[in-house]
Symmetry: C2
Subunit: 332 residues, 2 copies
């Protein structure tokens, strides 16, 4: 407990993120001031959204400044405190960044209970990805029992939860994922009705086969080609939830717009963007319901845990190469 | 009253519609059978949607078959009747096709009152374009007083009504149209707050200027480049109504998808397709309200009347060249 290692943003990446886009620095462990506490980070969340935060320009949050610690969600234990409401030994989640230790005022920080679920789950199914799946599917996608719900990146942190909630709500869940191992996880472990391996199958043909009545809800995490194919298979009044577009985040050319968007017209369908922060006042409600399903075994979750803070750039790349199954986290 | 002239679809157009895509034929005026009546067509509606009806393949209505009379809305007078509910001398609107006379069973036919408004208005502001504007804006766009509503093809049959309804509902209305004459019509006659001439202005800069708080509702009739620019200027929770995409209907290459669609995510915005037929059971309500506004002078309408049935292919092209102001109709 002498050194705090950090990844700081050194330059704005062009295309795929590289190690040289960061500075890996070592410094003293900071001391919390009055009204602050010190967290020893146990797990760091690696999210596709981090790629967007590295870019210049307006988005739903400000970009990470050059020279700043790379922004990341993380979970850890409070090891020092001068804060009246946070005590040493408590476990907390917050935007603590890619480092070993963080000082916090408690703003945006949530207590978590390590006896209810392992700590990494609080970065996944009981964290932002779980909230995103819960509110994106239920509040934006508005599935009805009997609907066919398709989700891309189905073996990822958000996708795995989306399909399982769809099943719990009486829908058919069809995943799209890359490779046979992920697809087996999606059907055999998570219980989706089917999973389409986009690397080896004709996605359009497979969607026709698995969604003979068309797609009622599409929860999109990937954008690009797959979004365009899904648009050709919509049911009337379909709802597309735009949660992300991981296929486009490292693009150095213009984003590929969905050429088949006029299918929205033909099918009186909608495409709606969502950012999970808008439901912050209902996180507690969603957490309770998700935790209940986890406890009862109706909801499965998997975390893909990489080790070694110094590996951060390479581990982050696993996301964009589609190499993780379940929620990707880094144990410093 | 001896000859019925008709335009029949001879082949499926490639790119822009050509005269050779049709057969211009003359035949005897048909006789209505039992339960049918004969309409002498007074005005034929020319609509962007007609281009889509000429294509092979599934859409929201079946395509016009090769050899069939080209589908078109029209208004006319009943000149013979063997129908118990339709009498000679009544005026009716229906899908009577591009011809001088049509036999009808009354299916999909609506009586109109030529003393309330001139007949061409029943193909425009009191017809499908008016219904499209009314339900598309109010039910899909859901404008609130104070919102900024942007509409493309603002001097067209639908656009002219959209912006005026927006104003009636207490919104700011910004049009986009091609050329100074159309823009003057939109601002000076229709009373929009501004109109952007996309042929001569920097549309992005002009939208920034006229929509400093961002765009709350965008009613899109054109697609393509303009849709993509609008996406960069959305307000939070903006609603985009996808009514049409006239810029793309004659494209021989793939439709240009909106590259900036991830703005939907950042702004928690939606893009929803609409087809007016879904509100058929409420046309009477909309017609009453629109007619009321017309009578009181709050709603202006303009029809662009071309003459000569034999000119049909060239007149239709005026739509795609953006040469009409107001609702384009053909007087046979």
């Amino acid at each position: 407990m002498n050194v705090n290692r950090q990844f700081r943003l050194a330059r704005r990446p062009q295309g795929m993120v590289k190690r040289e886009d960061f500075a890996f620095v070592r410094g003293p462990v900071p001391e919390p001031g009055d009204g602050e506490f010190l967290v020893r980070i146990a797990y760091i969340s690696l999210d596709p959204a981090m790629r967007g935060w590295m870019n210049e320009g307006k988005s739903y949050v400000p970009p990470v400044g050059l020279g700043e610690v790379m922004r990341a969600g993380a979970v850890g234990e409070i090891v020092k405190s001068k804060h009246p409401k946070f005590a040493v030994g408590e476990h907390v989640v917050g935007l603590f960044g890619v480092q070993d230790y963080a000082v916090s005022t408690g703003k945006g920080v949530t207590r978590v209970d390590p006896t209810l679920a392992p700590l990494p789950v609080y970065l996944g199914t009981l964290g932002m990805p779980g909230m995103t799946a819960y509110f994106g599917l239920l509040e934006v996608g508005k599935p009805r029992a009997g609907d066919t719900v398709v989700v891309s990146a189905a073996a990822g942190a958000v996708g795995q939860v989306v399909g399982q909630i769809a099943r719990i709500k009486g829908c058919r869940a069809i995943g799209i994922a890359g490779g046979p191992e992920k697809c087996r996880y999606v059907t055999d472990t998570l219980g989706f009705d089917a999973c389409i391996d986009y690397k080896h199958a004709d996605v359009k043909k497979a969607l026709k086969q698995h969604c003979p009545q068309g797609i009622n809800v599409y929860f999109d995490n990937v954008g690009g080609e797959i979004l365009d194919i899904v648009l050709t298979q919509l049911a009337m009044h379909a709802r597309i939830v735009i949660c992300g577009a991981i296929s486009q985040y490292n693009a150095t050319t213009a984003v590929k717009g969905p050429s088949n968007y006029l299918s929205l017209l033909v099918n009186r369908a909608s495409m709606t963007g969502m950012v999970v922060f808008d439901w912050a006042d209902r996180y507690a409600e969603a957490t309770r319901e998700l935790a209940g399903w986890l406890t009862s075994g109706r909801l499965k979750t998997r975390e893909d845990i990489a080790e070694g803070l110094e590996q951060f750039p390479e581990v982050l790349l696993k996301l964009f190469k589609g190499e993780n199954i379940g929620k990707l986290v880094l144990k410093p």
